[in-house]
């Protein structure tokens, strides 16, 4: 029974959520005290002088994880329409999906063998 009207309550919810968030941010801006000092506005580093900034390079594994996520998530999304129509597609659909999952697992196996998901040190 879905009609375009079904999406209107989502907009109402968005209005309420945004209204709350914006009001809160503006209210705290005026409510709290304002006694700013140089030290207070420095980034926190365990109480010692902060050195450099945080725009530093970090482990490439995080990038690899992100790229693999994009690949696998797209394949997961592919499976949603199939899952909804699973009963109607019957045995043929099931076998076709087994083939798809087989190819997916092949790629997954390759990724693991290449060590892309290896986070522990090996020495």
């Amino acid at each position: 029974m879905e009609t375009p009207i079904s999406y209107v309550p989502i907009l109402i919810q968005l209005a309420v959520a945004l209204g709350f968030v914006v009001t809160t941010i503006i209210a705290t801006h005026f409510l709290g005290p304002k006694r700013k000092t140089k030290k207070k506005l420095d980034p926190f580093e365990c109480g010692i002088e902060s050195s450099g900034n945080a725009r530093v390079p970090y482990s490439v594994r995080y990038f690899l994880t992100a790229i693999l996520f994009v690949l696998f998530d797209v394949e997961v999304i592919f499976m949603y329409p199939w899952a909804v129509n699973f009963k109607a597609l019957g045995l043929t659909g099931l076998l076709e999906m087994f083939l798809f999952i087989g190819l997916l697992l092949l790629g997954f196996f390759y990724v693991i063998k290449k060590g892309a998901l290896k986070w522990e040190d090996n020495n």
């Binding site: 079904s6 959520a17 809160t24 705290t28 207070k40 530093v56 994880t65 499976m79 099931l94 998901l117």
Partner: protein
């Protein structure tokens, strides 16, 4: 038509208030439960049994000085917590909170809206939550925040795959992505947990990781990263981050209950409603009460685990997510498919 919108607006506002109150008292419950488990008293000064503590905390958050570090990206710094809170509030729209309600002589579902892409919507909106944490942590220009933010994003996206695969098996057996229908299907028959025990387990573990709750709370592990992605935040901006976390916990519990534990349905509901002679609205209210009971159990469960298990190491977390949960979830899909085929559920 005006009544339709009036009903929806009332429901949206009610849902908003309930989410906030549940989130507020979850912080209180968390402190009381941790106190119980560590043989302490917990907060007991503000009001009877410390019941006004969440209010006191809220007022304190509002009255604190707002600090924006001078090296941060100001716009993104403010945008981070706003995004986290907005996405947390948006996720609850599709949860069916009860059966039919009579409002001005017309029956409505006790659900803000029901979309046939419901599961995808929830999946998408909760995924957006990672942006709040990532933007906030990066914009702080603090090393701890950056570490917390990148850990959080890698963790959340990793567990999203396993979570998506666990839901696929559920959709195979329900044949719909609308949450209203998933809840309604469990009305007569058994709850989905009976058909999807492995799927439920995977979903639950992923929910812990998505919420950055212990034992997967590396993004804000206080012993090494100070506060993780919200180290630099103060006043209500910190409050929004914390609030978003507890609202997400509430919504996740509601989603788990709807997907696997029958939502607002309970055993022998028709017999009980008939025996008590309840009207439509009263029967729905009873169902909603039962649903909240289930939700509170899961919120308690989240806290129970947090104060029981120690934190994982990051490589263990990644190994569990990628090398155990994803293969298990795929296995679950295969088992579901074969079992349904053998039981002659396919055409």
């Amino acid at each position: 038509m005006e009544n339709y919108y009036l009903f929806k607006i009332i429901l949206v506002v009610a849902l908003f208030v309930v989410s906030l109150v549940v989130a507020m008292y979850s912080t209180f419950a968390e402190r009381k439960i941790s106190a119980l488990m560590q043989d302490r008293l917990g907060p007991n000064r503000a009001g009877p049994f410390g019941l006004l503590q969440p209010l006191a905390d809220g007022i304190k958050m509002f009255m604190k000085e707002e600090i924006i570090p001078n090296v941060s990206n100001k716009t993104l710094f403010i945008l981070g917590p706003c995004l986290a809170m907005t996405t947390a509030l948006m996720a609850g729209v599709l949860i069916p909170w009860g059966g039919k309600v009579e409002f001005m002589g017309k029956p409505y579902d006790l659900q803000v809206t029901d979309l046939n892409i419901g599961v995808l919507y929830i999946f998408g909106v909760t995924s957006l939550g990672v942006y709040g944490i990532m933007i906030g942590g990066w914009a702080s220009n603090n090393k701890y925040s950056l570490m917390g933010a990148i850990r959080a994003s890698a963790q959340m996206i990793s567990y999203e795959i396993a979570m998506g695969l666990a839901i696929i098996a559920l959709i195979m057996s329900t044949g719909t992505m609308s949450l209203g229908e998933i809840a309604a299907q469990q009305d007569a028959g058994l709850a989905n947990i009976v058909y999807q025990p492995l799927g439920f387990l995977i979903f639950l573990i992923c929910a812990f990781a998505e919420l950055n709750r212990a034992p997967f709370d590396m993004p804000e592990s206080e012993s090494e990263l100070i506060g993780g992605y919200h180290t630099e935040y103060s006043s209500m901006k910190l409050g929004l981050f914390l609030f978003a976390e507890y609202i997400n916990m509430f919504i996740s519990s509601a989603v788990i209950v709807t997907f696997y534990f029958g939502g607002y349905n309970f055993p022998f509901q028709n017999e009980i409603n008939e025996a008590l002679g309840l009207s439509t609205n009263m029967a729905t209210a009873l169902g909603t009460l039962v649903m909240f009971g289930k939700i509170f159990f899961f919120i308690f469960f989240f806290m129970w685990i947090r104060w029981t298990l120690p934190r994982f190491r990051y490589d263990q977390l990644m190994r569990l997510g990628w090398k155990s949960l994803i293969p298990l979830a795929i296995l679950n899909i295969l088992i579901t498919g074969v079992v349904m085929w053998m039981n002659g559920k396919l055409n």
